[in-house]
């Protein structure tokens, strides 16, 4: 077989692999399943693209985010891969039929877990020769599984039905527990390829603010002072929208909101504006980030407590991909942990509800998301006892993750050490490292590079001139 580096040169024109790529490909070539824990921007997609190029058959990629999936297909088209298609709930009926008629022609198929778990789809896929099954964003098995994407829990069974194809699990962040859980759910014993999650150029800061009012004021102050493009994460769509308007009026910077409530067109435009440097700041929910190709993000601020260290690592990891000094701030007001706790409890049906549901499923309204979830489990033959166990386990996991997040917030000495420990890594405190909550943030000492700011007062170009610029 051709040397890996030769293929790399042929397909992508690169001379060298990035960290983790070659090792993953070698393990796959030698017949191993692989769990690759590589940071965003490490070139995870190149791995399965190159694998697909070197092996006959179809690479089936399971991806949880619809927008990301279509984006990926477009990118592959641009990169010269022609036989690529995606099937998900956004795919129209005619389009789906057209793809299914030529299923055997595709080299790369992207599919949502929902589509994949449909029996008719599965039986069609079983006719294909799969060279590789890719589980993208594999941490969703753990993070989202029982609460939001029950289909991810079926992936183990689906993998078996597909004849245990060689499997590549990809994720940007996964601590030890998450890695074990992914392997357990997918019923395999993968080789783990991981690089350090540490991002030395990101300065870590936790700030204890008294209450909501103080938090809001501090946010405005930070946004006004910090240079360059930034992202502020919120846990609600409404707050992201409201704060975008408020911050724009307070700071004069150009701010936009981004969340799952926007239509496709708006999300597309906001992302493109941000990448083109036309926005100073995005006020986002966790829906923002994957698929955003921007190297000069200078800061990421969390207005609410993230659900776990993995989400946090992934979200702050969007800062400073250019290697320049960058900043991650977590604003914490005491009691903030109540919100994720409450959300968790609201999502989780109690043992009594589970019992009642299994006794009288017809008496429940499937429009309720909790009931919808129970219906899903029941339809897939999962027993009442197993469901209760699942929820209990999930809650334990959630509480553990939250406790870990709080230990980061309360860390008195070194935030980086605390962060790395969550991923079973070691680290040591250094000069441009961190400011735990008792330590004041010295912005000037960070040496954040200045980036030209987008100006809100930009005069509007007359429409005729604007049209002329387009053509």
């Amino acid at each position: 077989m051709t040397a890996l580096t030769t293929s790399l040169k042929q397909v992508f024109g690169f001379d060298h692999f990035r960290t983790g790529q070659e090792e993953t490909l070698r393990d796959l070539d030698s017949g191993q399943d692989v769990l690759a824990v590589l940071p965003t921007g490490a070139g995870k997609t190149l791995i399965y693209q190159l694998y697909g190029y070197r092996h006959s058959g179809c690479v089936l990629i399971v991806s949880p985010l619809l927008s990301l999936m279509n984006d990926q297909v477009d990118r592959m088209h641009m990169a010269g891969f022609r036989r690529v298609a995606a099937i998900n709930s956004l795919t129209g009926r005619d389009e789906r039929q057209a793809i299914l008629r030529h299923l055997g022609d595709y080299q790369f198929l992207f599919m949502s877990p929902e589509m994949l778990s449909q029996p008719t789809m599965l039986s069609q896929l079983r006719q294909l020769t799969l060279s590789l099954l890719v589980i993208d964003e594999a941490h969703c098995i753990v993070q989202w599984g029982p609460d939001f994407r029950p289909e991810y829990l079926l992936l183990g069974a689906i993998r078996e039905k597909l004849g245990m194809p060689r499997t590549l699990m990809l994720t940007a962040t996964a601590g030890k527990t998450t890695r074990q859980e992914i392997a357990h759910q997918l019923r395999c014993h993968p080789q783990v390829v991981a690089t350090s999650v540490d991002r030395p150029n990101i300065f870590l800061d936790v700030e204890d603010v008294g209450d909501g009012t103080e938090k809001q004021a501090r946010l405005a102050e930070l946004v006004a002072k910090l240079p360059g493009p930034g992202i502020v994460y919120f846990s609600s769509k409404q707050l992201a929208s409201d704060m975008a308007l408020w911050l724009q009026s307070q700071t004069g910077k150009v701010v936009a909101a981004y969340h799952a409530g926007l239509d496709n067109e708006a999300r597309f435009k906001i992302q493109q504006q941000y990448m083109a440097g036309q926005l100073d700041l995005i006020c986002a929910t966790s829906a923002f980030g994957m698929g955003v190709d921007k190297n000069d993000v200078r800061y990421v601020i969390h207005y609410h407590l993230p659900a776990d260290m993995e989400s946090y690592a992934q979200e702050i990891g969007r800062a400073g991909r250019d290697g320049e000094p960058s900043l991650a701030v977590l604003l914490y007001a005491s009691g903030d942990e109540q919100l994720p706790l409450m959300l968790g409890q609201a999502n989780r049906p109690t043992a009594v509800t589970v019992h009642d549901y299994y006794a009288h499923p017809e008496a429940f309204d499937v429009a309720d998301p909790g009931v919808h979830l129970l219906e899903f489990y029941r339809n897939h033959g999962i027993s009442e006892a197993a469901v209760v166990r699942l929820f209990t386990r999930r809650e334990r996991e959630r509480n553990r993750a939250l406790a870990q997040m709080l230990s980061y917030v309360r860390e008195p000495h070194c935030l980086r050490q605390n962060w790395l420990q969550a991923f079973d890594e070691q680290g040591s405190h250094h000069e441009h490292c961190c400011a735990p909550k008792q330590v004041a943030l010295d912005l000037a000492a960070l040496n954040l590079p200045e980036t030209a700011v987008a100006t809100a007062a930009e005069p509007e170009i007359a429409w005729r001139d604007q049209l002329r610029q387009l053509f």
Binding site: D74, A266, Q272, Q466, L470
Partner: protein
């Protein structure tokens, strides 16, 4: 649609059903929705917001009621403007100029095609190899790809520029500005509707209405004259009456007997009736064979029993023997006929 937009489609004279407005926007073309859409003169709204959720206008309606601008009946459905609401609705609000023609083509598909075509040609003109194309459905992508292969030339960019400029010059400056700033192309991601709304101090829905006017003008130009867009849009012009309803109508014209048409077309009698009502709602008076279905005698019977405003007519308050002999269908068709200006043979029109 927010409260500020919903208020614009309400009146103090006529109660309007929230569910009908919602269904129109969502593109649910049941005969009842179409009938009331016609009564409210809101048919141009059909299918303009297919992503609207069921109950998606409830919050806007409630806020109008809370603000004392409208009243809502116990079923949370019948809306009517209050005198305060009439004053509030008088603020400057954009009134689309081309709305009457919107149902003549698949406007939403035309919108998708035009936006993608503009992007593709703009990037082509600047020789961009790699860019992120707007996310659209397969049909749009295929249509635009095929069109681009046919029309591709060094002059295409200039021709498109000319076509766009010519169309937008016919509209108010604001509409031209709004339509342009929503376009995506080379080094120009385009603004979102919310961003444009903020700049123009208007609602996002008004921005949508302006954009539809702008795009409709481009479509109309392409229909009247040969522009680069002509072949891109030609397949989207359509009668608002569905194909199957047209076939039913044709068969009725020939035989005049609804039962026979049902047998011949292998559809239920009730479907024949739905098709006919749909056609009657969309077609002008002279294009529908009312006289073949509504006999003069039946019209006189209805005229005697149905007085007052059309919206207040109740099928169930007709004499029992009339109800027994004539299905709801005849009652509804008669109302459409009267509304479109149908006149009894003795010259009496009973609309008050």
């Amino acid at each position: 649609m927010e409260a500020a937009d919903l208020i614009q489609v309400l009146t103090p004279q006529q109660t309007r059903r929230l569910r009908v407005i919602e269904n129109l926007l969502r593109g649910k073309k049941t005969v009842s929705t179409l009938y009331w859409g016609q009564r409210y003169q809101l048919l141009p709204l059909i299918g303009l917001d297919k992503s609207l959720d069921r109950g998606g206008l409830d919050a806007a309606a409630r806020s109008l009621v809370t603000g004392g601008l409208a009243t809502l009946d116990e079923e949370n459905d019948q809306l009517r403007l209050t005198p305060t609401g009439v004053i509030a609705a008088q603020r400057t609000y954009y009134q689309p100029q081309t709305a009457d023609t919107w149902i003549q083509l698949d406007l939403m598909a035309a919108r998708q095609r035009l936006l993608l075509a503009v992007q593709v040609v703009s990037e082509y003109t600047h020789a961009t190899r790699r860019y992120y194309p707007l996310a659209t459905d397969l049909a749009t992508r295929q249509a635009v790809r095929a069109w681009f292969q046919r029309e591709k030339s060094d002059r295409l960019g200039q021709q498109i520029l000319q076509a766009l400029t010519h169309a937008l010059e016919q509209l108010p400056e604001t509409v031209a500005t709004v339509t342009t700033s929503l376009l995506t192309g080379y080094q120009h991601p385009g603004l979102t509707r919310e961003q444009v709304a903020q700049r123009q101090q208007r609602t996002a829905w008004e921005v949508t209405l302006m954009q539809l006017d702008g795009l409709m003008q481009i479509c109309q130009d392409a229909r009247v004259d040969q522009t680069p867009f002509t072949s891109l849009l030609s397949s989207l012009w359509q009668s608002p009456v569905t194909r199957s309803a047209q076939l039913t109508l044709e068969a009725v014209r020939q035989t005049g007997d609804l039962d026979q048409v049902a047998t011949q077309r292998r559809i239920k009698l009730s479907t024949v009736r739905e098709h006919l009502l749909e056609a009657a709602i969309f077609l002008p008076l002279v294009d529908f064979p009312y006289e073949q279905i509504l006999t003069p005698k039946l019209c006189q019977l209805f005229a005697k029993n149905l007085t007052g405003a059309i919206d207040d007519w109740q099928y169930t308050s007709l004499p029992a023997d009339l109800q027994a002999r004539y299905d709801f269908f005849y009652f509804r068709l008669y109302a459409i006929w009267i509304e479109k200006g149908g006149v009894l043979s003795d010259g009496v029109n009973n609309e008050s």
